[in-house]
């Protein structure tokens, strides 16, 4: 199978590879997939007080298209609010990376990873608000 130039670029120069401290209250972590399936993505986001994603990191075990999908996802969600991040659709990734049909599941996994990270960040913010700051509005 031939890979698109963009997939190759993300594979060779992945953006935002790395880890954040999962225990921090302002970090949301999403891990999706399973080693037996040949794909595991971990996507992490650092969120500021206004629910804006100030940083994103990923690590992926999987094929080149899975790596590229998660790399692209971190690039796109940086600077977005959590709501805006949830608006990210896997089809946008498919189009941008010119993924063939057999690789669409890679983009789905990246979308799921974003959703899982946002959900985790939200859960932590909720827990934090409950404990330390009474809801005022």
């Amino acid at each position: 199978m031939a890979y698109s130039d963009k997939v190759v670029d993300h594979y060779k120069n992945p953006r935002n590879v790395g880890s954040m401290d999962q225990s921090l209250p302002n970090v949301g972590t999403g891990i999706v997939g399973a080693p037996e399936c040949g794909d595991v993505m971990r996507l992490q986001i650092e969120v500021d007080e206004s629910e804006r994603i100030v940083d994103a990191k990923f690590k992926t075990f999987g094929c080149g298209s899975a790596i590229a999908s998660s790399s692209l996802a971190t690039e796109w969600i940086k600077g977005r609010t959590l709501d805006e991040a949830l608006a990210l659709k896997n089809t946008e990734i498919v189009t941008e990376l010119a993924l063939p049909p057999v690789k669409i599941h890679c983009s789905v996994l990246a979308e799921d990873a974003v959703r899982a990270a946002v959900a985790d960040a939200r859960a932590k913010r909720g827990a934090k608000s409950d404990k330390t700051e009474p809801v005022t509005s």
């Binding site: 890979y3 190759v8 594979y11 992945p14 590879v17 880890s19 891990i31 999706v32 997939g33 399973a34 080693p35 037996e36 399936c37 040949g38 794909d39 595991v40 993505m41 971990r42 990923f58 690590k59 992926t60 075990f61 999987g62 094929c63 080149g64 899975a66 790596i67 057999v102 599941h105 996994l109 899982a116």
Partner: protein, 403 residues
């Protein structure tokens, strides 16, 4: 960009000496070997018979026991289905194993739909089937045992002589898919008790589209129902105009393989060992799959933990190898061979098969080691599994979100 070809178990380039031998049979000697009444036919027939002897010599058979085919897939089909149909009155039980090539598995599955019963033996962790396993599966109505000589993915060689002796003792026909072993390791159909052996031209530096089936003529005389009808060529077992240039090619390739096998297997084996030593020296968490001693000299199958096979192949794009990863297969399933020897799916996804050949050089191997090491390190840097393992997390205890 230099390109290194380490996928010789998939196919090999035609040896220039083989090509030279073939060319006249495309040009001036284009005759049909079945034309009995003019010189064009005689020349072609002579060439075909010479090749028959060349192939027979390499496996210690008589030329009369060689049937030309289009390749080993046809040979496997003809052997298995041909025996089943011919001996159905005697019994309808066949013994094979789970890591055979699909050209054996699929005809056996087909026969299961036709009233035959197949016992699928489970090979051990190294990929071997033992004579004891075969013996335990034998029944009064067993008519055929089909066990491959050497496995294409692992390189593991089966105890063919022991299985053959058992089959002789039990008066059961023994077929072996000899594709990967033919030309790489010595085969003696008499000493090993093989009754049917399928081989292929393009795995031994011959052309694609030609193969042979060895069919024993004495002790016992094996009979087959043909699966291709139309003219009664090849003692009635395989009709169709012979592929004369291809047959000349497989013959020439067999002769060269016979002459050079001892030297070549030593050289290629040393390169394979150099590759494994280099990888082991520079990388942690890698495992060699298959049998380490009873193994083809050219094959090395390795699982690189925490990285996925297809992404590895993408990283070393100037090296041609194959992977057990699902992402590289049409079925999107990881290798059934690796699963068949009890490897977890995760290790199957992380596996690479390196198969060396006649034209592999030391420089190729050193370049491959560099490229694999760089790629694995690059991918482990971005592998969450590698990071978790480094933190001491047991990955088997993690609850994964399966898709």
């Amino acid at each position: 960009m230099r390109s290194v070809y380490l996928d010789n178990n998939a196919t090999t380039p035609v040896d220039p000496r083989v090509l030279e031998a073939m060319l006249p049979y495309f040009r001036e000697n284009f005759g049909n070997a079945a034309s009995r009444n003019h010189s064009y036919g005689w020349v072609a027939e002579e060439a075909v018979e010479k090749a028959r002897a060349q192939v027979a010599t390499l496996i210690n058979a008589s030329p009369k026991e060689i049937i030309w085919t289009s390749g080993a897939t046809e040979g496997d089909n003809e052997a298995i289905i041909g025996v089943a149909r011919m001996y159905a009155d005697k019994g309808k039980h066949i013994i094979t194993d789970r890591i055979e090539h699909k050209a054996v598995i699929d005809p056996c599955k087909y026969l299961e739909t036709q009233g035959f019963e197949v016992t699928w033996l489970e090979p051990d962790k190294a990929g071997q089937v033992s004579a004891e396993q075969v013996k335990a599966a034998m029944r009064d109505d067993t008519i055929l045992v089909s066990i491959m000589f050497a496995n294409n993915e692992l390189g593991t060689i089966n105890p063919i002589g022991e299985i053959g002796a058992l089959c002789k003792e039990k008066d059961v026909l023994f077929h072996s898919d000899g594709v990967q072993a033919f030309g790489k390791v010595p085969i003696d159909v008499d000493a090993m008790g093989i009754d049917l052996l399928s081989i292929s031209g393009h795995k031994i530096y011959g052309p694609k589209g030609v193969g042979a089936l060895y069919v024993r003529r004495k002790r016992p005389r094996v009979r087959l129902q043909p699966i291709i009808h139309g003219g009664g060529h090849e003692r009635g077992m395989r009709s169709g105009t012979l592929n004369v240039p291809g047959i000349v090619g497989i013959g020439a390739a067999a002769e060269i393989a016979g002459k050079e096998m001892a030297q070549e297997s030593k050289r290629v084996g040393a390169l394979r060992d150099r590759l494994w030593a280099g990888l082991s020296e520079h990388l942690t968490d890698i495992f060699r799959n298959g049998h380490h001693e009873q193994c083809l000299p050219n094959t090395l199958n390795v699982s690189f933990l925490y990285v996925e096979g297809e992404s590895m192949m993408m990283g070393m794009s100037d090296i041609a190898v194959s992977s057990g990863s699902a992402c590289t297969s049409a079925s999107l399933e990881p290798s059934y061979v690796l699963k068949g020897i009890g490897l977890g799916d995760d290790l199957a996804h992380s596996s690479i098969r390196f198969s060396l050949g006649r034209f592999t050089t030391e420089e190729d191997i050193d370049h491959t080691i560099d490229s694999v090491v760089t790629t694995v390190n690059h991918l482990r840097e971005m592998s969450p599994l590698y990071e978790m393992a480094q933190q001491g997390i047991d990955l088997s205890t993690v609850e994964w979100q399966h898709h």
